[in-house]
């Protein structure tokens, strides 16, 4: 689709590879779209273009394992093309797209359509989830075998919880046959129904219908029990409470096939962000109490959480300019994924290698992808980062179409200077 780029030699870089623990000054040579070599000093092949990194961090491009795209069905919120722009600016080179679109990605032909649209961007690998159930309606499982052959990265109902225990059991069991796993939105739907904020003092004062935090732990406990009886692999998305994380930690210690991710809002913000009915901070699951935020940070540090995903949910201004309960839930997250994560490094909770591992090699390993590491022969998906450079999140000025950032106004340290996809510069 795109011309093979020229060979590129990155010099003066701080090479950072979380998979191997490498953190050293050096050079990296990209040839024919793959990493040809890296090390302290590399000779300069004649034809290569040289990029002087000026001491900035050269790391693998980010792997975002959870993002909703507007296509198909909600192009007014975002197109794949605009999402790709935002992703490139955020250093994301691989993105897993949720299947609860209109129509849902429950058919091989639809999945192939998304894959082709992703390829056409030239800057971003878009790997769609297959719908866990037909129409993401939570009743009957979809054709995992045929969807997997068509390229489904795993199975999920996206923003919908698989509420029926029987359906979840069948899904976990059936996915095993195809070496795949099921991603759950961990929220017991009958407890969450009608709720728009975390149940507690703040929601009470604001007069908003609450969702008890236990709605998450109940679903997590149930699905861990189902993973135990099926031998299947369950992955919990955007985990946001300490109680759920304690259950996941114990399940991992037991040796069950249980993994999870969280998203930046859940370790950077707490429920007070919705004060004054700020709909940009209306998320699903809702922002939690400070104690839960701290529990998420601790679970990032101790390895319980396997990945940080953007949980990108594009919305139009009109989707958000509504009374709080009527506004749509979700925030845009592609451009801020790295910056918010780095705030935990600056805050002393994570090392830079730990933080990058949660954004690169750990999700890649979970998804069985050959990306997310600086390794000879791996695709040259790279980002150049100045971890100290300051910038400010401003809704309205973010790359891409969707501007509904819950981090509007947030000052950040750490900026992407450039992004390369298969050796081709796509940002900066």
């Amino acid at each position: 689709m795109h011309d093979t780029p020229r060979d590129t030699l990155f010099i003066n870089a701080r090479l950072l590879d979380p998979a191997s623990g490498l953190d050293a000054p050096g050079s990296l040579l990209v040839s024919r779209g793959v990493i040809a070599d890296h090390g302290g000093a590399l000779g300069n092949p004649e034809a290569a273009e040289t990029v002087d990194c000026g001491g900035a961090v050269l790391a693998p491009g980010l792997v975002d394992m959870r993002a909703a795209l507007g296509e198909p069905g909600a192009e007014y919120r975002e197109t794949i093309e605009s999402a790709a722009l935002a992703a490139a600016a955020g250093g994301i080179t691989t993105l897993c797209a949720l299947p609860d679109t209109q129509p849902a990605l429950d058919d091989a032909a639809l999945l192939q359509f998304i894959l082709r649209r992703g390829e056409a961007t030239g800057s971003l690998s878009i790997l769609p989830y297959g719908a866990a159930t037909k129409g993401c309606a939570g009743q009957e499982i979809s054709e995992y075998g045929l969807l997997r052959e068509a390229g489904a990265i795993a199975f999920s109902d996206g923003r919908h919880a698989i509420g029926s225990a029987r359906t979840m059991r069948i899904a976990l069991s059936y996915a095993r046959a195809f070496g795949s796993f099921v991603v759950q939105h961990p929220e017991e739907p009958s407890l969450a129904r009608g709720g728009v904020a975390t149940e507690g003092e703040l929601a009470t004062r604001l007069g908003l219908a609450g969702i008890p935090p236990a709605a998450e732990a109940i679903m997590v406990a149930r699905d861990i029990a189902l993973a135990r009886i099926t031998g299947g692999h369950v992955h919990f998305a955007h985990v946001s409470t300490g109680a759920a994380l304690d259950l996941i930690r114990a399940a991992k210690a037991e040796g069950l096939r249980v993994t999870c991710d969280t998203a930046p809002p859940y370790f950077d913000l707490n429920e007070t962000a919705i004060g004054d009915f700020r709909t940009y901070a209306k998320l699903s699951p809702p922002l939690r109490r400070e104690a839960d935020r701290l529990a998420v940070v601790a679970a990032l540090a101790d390895g319980t959480i396997d990945a940080i995903a953007s949980d990108h949910q594009p919305a139009d201004a009109d989707d958000k300019r509504l009374p709080f309960a009527q506004a749509s839930a979700g925030g845009t997250g592609l451009a801020t994924l790295l910056g918010i994560t780095l705030s935990r490094v600056h805050g002393g909770d994570l090392t830079l290698l730990q933080a990058l591992a949660l954004l690169t090699c750990r999700p890649a390993a979970l998804l069985g992808l050959p990306v997310g590491r600086l390794e000879r022969g791996a695709p040259a998906d790279l980002l150049l980062l100045d971890p100290e450079r300051a910038w400010k999140v401003e809704a309205g000025k973010l790359p891409g179409k969707a501007q509904n950032s819950p981090f509007d106004g947030r000052a950040l340290e750490g900026r992407v200077l450039g992004t390369w996809k298969a050796g081709r510069r796509v940002f900066g």
Binding site: G145, S173, Y174, A177, I229, T230
Partner: protein
């Protein structure tokens, strides 16, 4: 020949190999007799065989009917509609009715596992389980074994892959018991949603990949996938099932070149088996299974009625 140790034939679980071998030897002789066109109408002369079917069946009922008639029994078919038998009392009421009729041999098919066993406690007749729920179908496994033995010359040390909806299959369970007892290596192959819990505890190897499960198999035994399984959500669609678990030439190529293909019938062509395989005389022994069915049922009726006569003399 050893005297058969049971009054009824309710299950193959626990039946010792010498009795299985005796039954198969006797059935083999009936197969030869049937092919010669001769009958043995004096054997069950004056005895009453009732086919009591609480579940629809054509081939099994016909096979028992033919077996009984070839041995000279008076055969009565009783079909009891599903709607009228949902209560346990009705089953026991039926037992007392049958006792009043002085039935000698009672062939029972029922949608509930264990129903023939319950009947056997209440009736005077020898009860033959012709399929109960998802429990057992002993005569089907015996006819499968006879077919395999005739084709392969032995039962011992064969690799048999039982494929498809094992969860709901009484045929699979009876075959697992019989083939394991006869020292076959038994595999079950199917999506995890159609393999019963703790299946490996029954002494089988479990596979979820058809190619791996069929590798070097001597016998490929396909099971019927009932449409209601799809409605129940255990399998997403017939097209997906056929693609990954339907027996076609590509998958069968992983079995031994001389592997035989079996199916208890009735087949769902294009769901669990490709017509090209089902109708291939070099591989498919489905027709021979039906033929052996009559012979096996003659042997079972013979052995159980011998038992009754022996017990009556004692």
């Amino acid at each position: 020949m050893l005297p058969f140790p049971h009054r009824h034939l309710l299950a193959l679980q626990g039946l010792e190999p010498p009795y299985i071998a005796d039954l198969l030897d006797l059935a083999e002789s009936y197969a030869l007799l049937n092919r010669s066109g001769k009958t043995q109408r004096d054997l069950l002369k004056g005895q009453t065989l009732i086919n009591l079917f609480f579940e629809d069946s054509t081939r099994t009922r016909t096979s028992f009917e033919l077996a009984g008639k070839r041995l000279g029994a008076d055969v009565i078919n009783m079909s009891v509609s599903q709607s009228s038998v949902n209560k346990g009392e009705t089953l026991l009421d039926t037992a007392s009715t049958l006792n009043a009729m002085h039935c000698d041999l009672l062939v029972v098919r029922h949608a509930q596992s264990g129903a023939p066993a319950l009947l056997s406690q209440k009736v005077d007749a020898a009860v033959i389980n012709a399929g109960d729920g998802t429990h057992e179908h002993p005569t089907q496994a015996l006819l499968d074994a006879l077919t395999i033995r005739r084709r392969k010359g032995r039962l011992e040390n064969l690799t048999v892959a039982i494929c498809g909806d094992v969860l709901h299959s009484r045929v699979a369970r009876s075959n697992i018991h019989l083939l394991s007892a006869m020292n076959c290596r038994v595999r079950v192959v199917g999506p995890p949603t159609l393999i019963p819990a703790e299946a490996a505890r029954m002494g089988v190897e479990v596979f979820h990949d058809m190619k791996a499960g069929l590798r070097d198999a001597d016998v490929v035994m396909m099971l019927r996938l009932q449409k209601e399984r799809m409605a129940g959500g255990l399998v997403p669609s017939a097209r997906e099932f056929f693609r990954f678990y339907g027996l076609d030439a590509a998958k069968l190529a992983h079995a031994r070149p001389d592997a035989i293909v079996m199916h208890p019938g009735p087949m769902n062509r294009g769901v669990e088996i490709d017509s090209a395989i089902a109708d291939d005389p070099a591989r498919s022994v489905i027709g021979e299974q039906v033929e052996m069915g009559v012979a096996v049922r003659m042997a079972v009726l013979d052995i159980l009625s011998r038992n009754m006569r022996r017990n009556a003399r004692l």
